[in-house]
């Protein structure tokens, strides 16, 4: 409104002001109707998100008897703590913590490799001019089009041939390889945006290429590195197919495999399955709570800007 009155003659400005004023009052009424409707819709969706999660959490506090007798009665009566106790510190604790540790090892190795290798490559793609650069970059972009599923059968053969079958490294290495394309695509524009003057200054001060990369570029690109790491953590932590194929013993399983196995092994004991599942979700949810900003920022900057 301010712009329309200031740019037009005073008389017409007032007219327009009055007309839109009346309209905006009518519009305001409609908006509040829309507002209420959309709020209700959002409440319904929020409920749909919360019910499965809440059901699982509360179900873990029940006995199987309670679960079967009245599934809709969501509040445990009485509250039973045995299921969670068994998973966290009791008879299932060794299983759970081992699987948690395996997931952690795979995630740390895979994400570490991804971030290091991807930033080195993105550095080259961003700040060196050479023939074939775009072709090589396109080769990496190409990897965005398909997931590890396409390559899973030969990967299985390959991992077996190089002796990494049944080894967490056999999961971490391919996982890192498949996380490279997205990471490079996100890091490249970040590295490119860092002013050339900084590079010149670093060189005059006697910095080598690697010195500039390590001491200047990486510290400046910390937000982008955080984004890439967070995306790689989520991808690796939740990976299912690759560990399913590569790992072949219960002592090597990562959490998603462990949860699936637990749910089939104790398929008649729903309460325990729920407790185990809920506990296995805690790391992901905790991670989300800490890194939500980087995660959302990374996804949107990657996708919205092309």
């Amino acid at each position: 409104m301010a712009t329309s009155t200031s740019t037009s003659a005073p008389g017409t400005g007032a007219d327009i002001g009055a007309a839109t004023g009346a309209r905006s009052r009518a519009a305001a009424r409609r908006i509040s109707v829309i507002g209420v409707t959309s709020f209700v819709v959002m409440l319904v969706v929020a409920t749909a998100i919360l019910v499965p999660i809440g059901y699982s959490i509360l179900g873990g506090f029940k006995t199987n008897g309670q679960l079967v007798a009245n599934p809709v009665h969501v509040i445990p009566d009485p509250w039973v703590f045995d299921n969670y106790r068994e998973v966290l510190v009791g008879s299932f604790a060794p299983t759970f913590w081992r699987e948690f540790l395996n997931s952690l090892i795979v995630a740390v190795v895979a994400v570490g490799l991804t971030v290091l290798f991807a930033s080195l490559a993105a550095f080259v793609f961003a700040r060196f001019a050479f023939r074939g650069r775009e072709a090589l970059f396109t080769l990496f972009v190409f990897g965005l089009l398909f997931p590890s599923a396409v390559a899973i059968l030969p990967l299985f053969i390959l991992v077996k041939q190089v002796g990494l079958s049944g080894n967490l490294l056999g999961v971490a290495l391919p996982q890192a390889a498949f996380a490279l394309p997205l990471s490079i695509v996100i890091l490249r524009p970040f590295f490119r945006a860092i002013p050339a003057e900084l590079e010149d200054a670093a060189r005059i001060d006697g910095c080598s290429s690697f010195g500039f990369f390590w001491r200047v570029l990486l510290p400046l690109a910390r937000p982008a590195l955080a984004t890439v790491s967070v995306l790689a953590v989520v991808g690796t932590w939740n990976a299912f197919l690759l560990p399913l194929v590569v790992l072949n013993g219960a002592d090597q399983w990562t959490l998603p495999l462990g949860v699936m196995n637990f749910s089939t092994q104790y398929s008649s004991d729903h309460a325990k399955v729920l407790a185990f599942t809920v506990v296995s979700l805690i790391p992901a949810i905790a991670f989300y709570a800490v890194a939500e900003r980087q995660l959302v920022g990374g996804l949107t900057s990657g996708a919205v800007k092309g």
């Binding site: 290798f117 490559a121 997931p147 390559a151 524009p189 290429s209 949810i285 996708a303």
Partner: protein, 308 residues
């Protein structure tokens, strides 16, 4: 002069060395674990092979013939396609609607945003297990429906071949709508408010302003969202594997499930590889066609500045 040119050659040589050294680790990892296996799948697909014995029984394109004929690839592809169509018809518009709702300022907005996006960080496998428990006959969903008087709606959600794909679609949407919503919300927030206000001042109603101003400007984001949704739907595996195993009667077998079963359950590595190649080709054709015909306008500017 000669000293200078010598310094330049030295510079060039050290530059080449730097490029090679920096690029080598990523390239090696990528070639060994991504490109090489895909090429190998193409190779294996021409053999009848159980994955253990030496690779000797060359059978040409027979595996593809079987896959496209009686082998069930068409059925699996149809199942993927159903998810694609439903995602585009329901999930994407739904996500857009929620993004529009969340684009207004109101108290508690951040709670909704945080909550809607939460399922995205949970693993597909674990999400599938939770829903399998909820949807078992007589379990929570059935009792909830019965208790509110909708007992007639109760189905064998994951056991009835006629509806199992629809059930899976709902679970997939539960996990992924928040992701698309976040993308579109970011897109909406990138559109200057002044544009819609200008349209309103010029006499457009809210619907018109949305339809003719906001929506076209959101086009690039929607197209990226659609692309990611289609590629994701074509590659569906984890969720299906833990909930139905592709059953009942292959009613929920996706391309990736068919491939996995062929390779690891039937020990038909050659045939499974043929399915992998077909999955690869479908993804590739979709991606290239989409890039060529739909995304082109968006990436024209973006990718050239990208490439410098």
């Amino acid at each position: 002069m000669t000293a200078l040119s010598r310094a330049r050659t030295g510079n060039r040589r050290s530059k080449t060395l730097a490029i090679a050294l920096f690029l080598a680790p990523a390239l090696a990892l990528y070639v060994v674990f991504v490109l090489f296996p895909i090429a190998q799948a193409a190779h294996f697909s021409l053999y009848k092979w159980n994955g253990l014995t030496p690779l000797t029984e060359f059978i040409g394109l027979k595996n593809y013939q079987v896959a496209l004929g009686s082998g069930g690839f068409v059925n699996a592809f149809g199942n993927n396609l159903l998810i694609v169509v439903l995602s585009l018809a329901i999930q994407i518009p739904f996500s857009l609607a929620l993004a529009v709702m969340l684009n207004r300022r109101f108290p508690g907005r951040w709670v909704f945003r945080l909550l809607f996006f939460l399922p995205y960080v949970l693993s597909e496998a674990v999400t599938g297990i939770v829903f399998r428990l909820l949807l078992q006959p007589g379990a929570f969903v059935d009792s909830a429906l019965t208790s509110v008087g909708l007992g007639s709606l109760v189905q064998d959600w994951l056991g009835d071949p006629a509806i199992v794909m629809l059930t899976l679609f709902v679970i997939v949407s539960w996990k992924y709508f928040g992701f698309h919503m976040i993308l579109m919300l970011a897109g909406l927030q990138g559109i200057p408010k002044e544009l819609e206000e200008a349209a309103l001042i010029d006499g457009a109603d809210r619907r018109g302003a949305f339809r003719y101003v906001t929506l076209p400007l959101l086009g690039p984001t929607i197209r990226v969202s659609v692309f990611l949704s289609v590629i994701g739907a074509l590659q569906l595996f984890d969720m299906v594997w833990v909930t139905t195993n592709g059953g009942p009667l292959n009613a929920s077998t996706t391309m990736a499930i068919a491939m996995f079963k062929a390779g690891f359950k039937s020990q038909a590595m050659g045939y499974g590889s043929a399915l992998a190649v077909l999955l690869f080709l479908v993804s590739l054709v979709v991606a290239l066609a989409y890039q060529r015909f739909v995304l082109r306008r968006d990436t024209d500017g973006a990718l050239t500045t990208f490439g410098g």
